[in-house]
């Protein structure tokens, strides 16, 4: 199959790559761009380990064809920290033990990041709903919920002049 030229923005960097049109966005990120933070755990959209944020929405990157990502803006786990400083979600994931083996964590982080883009103050139920498509066999769901709640609380305090 002939390769096509793909243009997309990944973690705020414009990228132009030659790709097989029917490879997946996951392949592009991991193999072409070397961004191995996003994981493959099933390849079929059943587990959420491959979730990235595409045009402000959480998507399973194993179910997006490379060609379908043309012109899109992608954020992966590698794009969360700014200038070496952890995103609050990352900080609280670590503080609240929102992971054990860590394999589901990048996808989990991106689902939470996408949630906060649309709902800056979710409750526990909404958080669980947001991560319903992210399987964690280690069972750290409650830690994730607490990490997101801590993040929103902190952001609230910051924006309201507290802390």
């Amino acid at each position: 199959m002939e390769e096509i030229e793909l243009h997309l923005t990944v973690n705020n960097l414009a990228c132009t790559l030659m790709v097989q049109p029917c490879s997946t966005l996951l392949d592009v990120l991991r193999e072409k761009l070397g961004l191995t933070g996003t994981k493959q755990a099933c390849g079929e959209g059943d587990c959420g380990a491959c979730v990235v944020v595409m045009d402000d929405q959480a998507v399973n990157s194993c179910l997006v064809l490379a060609a379908q990502a043309e012109g899109t803006k992608i954020i992966t786990v590698e794009g969360l920290a700014m200038n070496g400083k952890l995103h609050p979600l990352q900080h609280y994931f670590a503080e609240k033990w929102a992971f054990q083996c860590g394999f589901c964590t990048p996808g989990m982080l991106m689902s939470c990041y996408a949630l906060l883009l649309h709902n800056p103050n979710p409750n526990a139920e909404e958080i669980r709903q947001a991560i319903a498509g992210n399987l964690c066999r280690c069972g750290s769901y409650q830690g994730v919920v607490e990490a997101v709640l801590a993040t929103t609380k902190m952001k609230h305090e910051v924006s309201h002049g507290g802390v």
Partner: protein, 294 residues
């Protein structure tokens, strides 16, 4: 892995031309949530994938007569649409129960219908809302009522060169109430073991003037329970009529045994779910009616 060509067509014409020229070899890809796993395991191997994303069919609009949803309208868009929350609440309820957020963000209603799984969540509300599919081909346009769309498991009446560009639903009477009930094996990311959607439209004398009952995962295709619907016509349903209608719905089902459940269990669930759905919808209408349920 799989190999095929991909084209995001610039216009509806181009889509229809390509579908026609590559008849049988080309498939429309929308969110890919059903298509890509099937291609990965070799169940499907089209030579060409045609993507309608440039056709901007991602709006929900309303006119006096219809609500129209573009072919690329996703399950997530259904959830966040004030229009649909108001007009088609049971479609919203069903879409809420599809997969998880990443799947809903990509999966389209049209794609869900075209995939023709008997378990498709969105199909049942659309059936009870009397949805029609606006289908285009090089030859012209046609309207396919959703209840005539399915021809077998994974099969539809669409020709290879036809393309669903809109789903349309007639404006729903304010005297109409609907509910969607689904049984799954876990609380999210679960394909329905059995599901029903029921919609009842009442007149001023509290009689049912239109009953729609749709069954999911209990037959080769999503299907309506016509005999059950007929039993309710122009009646004020009481418990025993509801039971009769539920039994008729059970008769309309033709479930199989598979990984998720046995045919026997599914059949029983049609009865239970239909009965519950009808009771939920009738409860408020009949002050003396008591089903003993909260």
């Amino acid at each position: 892995m799989f190999h095929c060509n991909y084209l995001a067509t610039e216009s509806l014409e181009e889509m229809l031309t390509c579908l026609h020229e590559h008849s049988g070899e080309a498939r429309v890809i929308a969110g890919g949530t059903d298509l890509i796993p099937q291609m990965r395991c070799g169940k499907l191997s089209p030579g060409l994938l045609l993507d309608p994303l440039r056709l901007q069919l991602n709006q929900a609009t309303q006119s006096e007569q219809y609500i129209r949803l573009g072919a690329s309208f996703t399950h997530s868009q259904v959830l966040s649409s004030a229009l649909l929350q108001r007009e088609l609440p049971v479609l919203v309820s069903a879409c809420q129960q599809v997969g998880g957020p990443p799947v809903r963000n990509r999966g389209t209603l049209a794609g869900n219908l075209a995939n023709a799984s008997p378990a498709a969540d969105a199909a049942l509300p659309l059936l009870v809302y009397n949805a029609q599919l606006e289908v285009a081909s090089q030859v012209g346009e046609r309207l396919v009522p959703l209840n005539q769309f399915y021809t077998g498991p994974g099969q539809t009446c669409l020709a290879h060169d036809e393309f669903i560009h809109h789903i349309r639903v007639p404006r729903v009477s304010p005297n109409s109430k609907a509910v969607y009930l689904k049984l799954g094996k876990r609380q999210a990311m679960a394909i329905a073991v059995a599901s029903v959607a029921v919609r009842l439209t009442f007149n001023d004398s509290n009689q049912v003037v239109q009953a729609r009952i749709a069954l999911g995962s209990v037959a080769p295709t999503p299907r309506r329970a016509y005999a059950a619907e007929a039993l309710l016509q122009l009646r004020r349903p009481d418990l025993s009529l509801i039971r009769l209608a539920a039994q008729a719905a059970q008769q309309a089902a033709n479930p199989i045994s598979d990984l998720r459940a046995s045919d026997d269990y599914r059949s029983k669930m049609v009865l239970v779910l239909t009965q519950r759905a009808l009771e939920m919808l009738c409860k408020d209408r009949y002050p003396v009616y008591s089903n003993g349920r909260d």
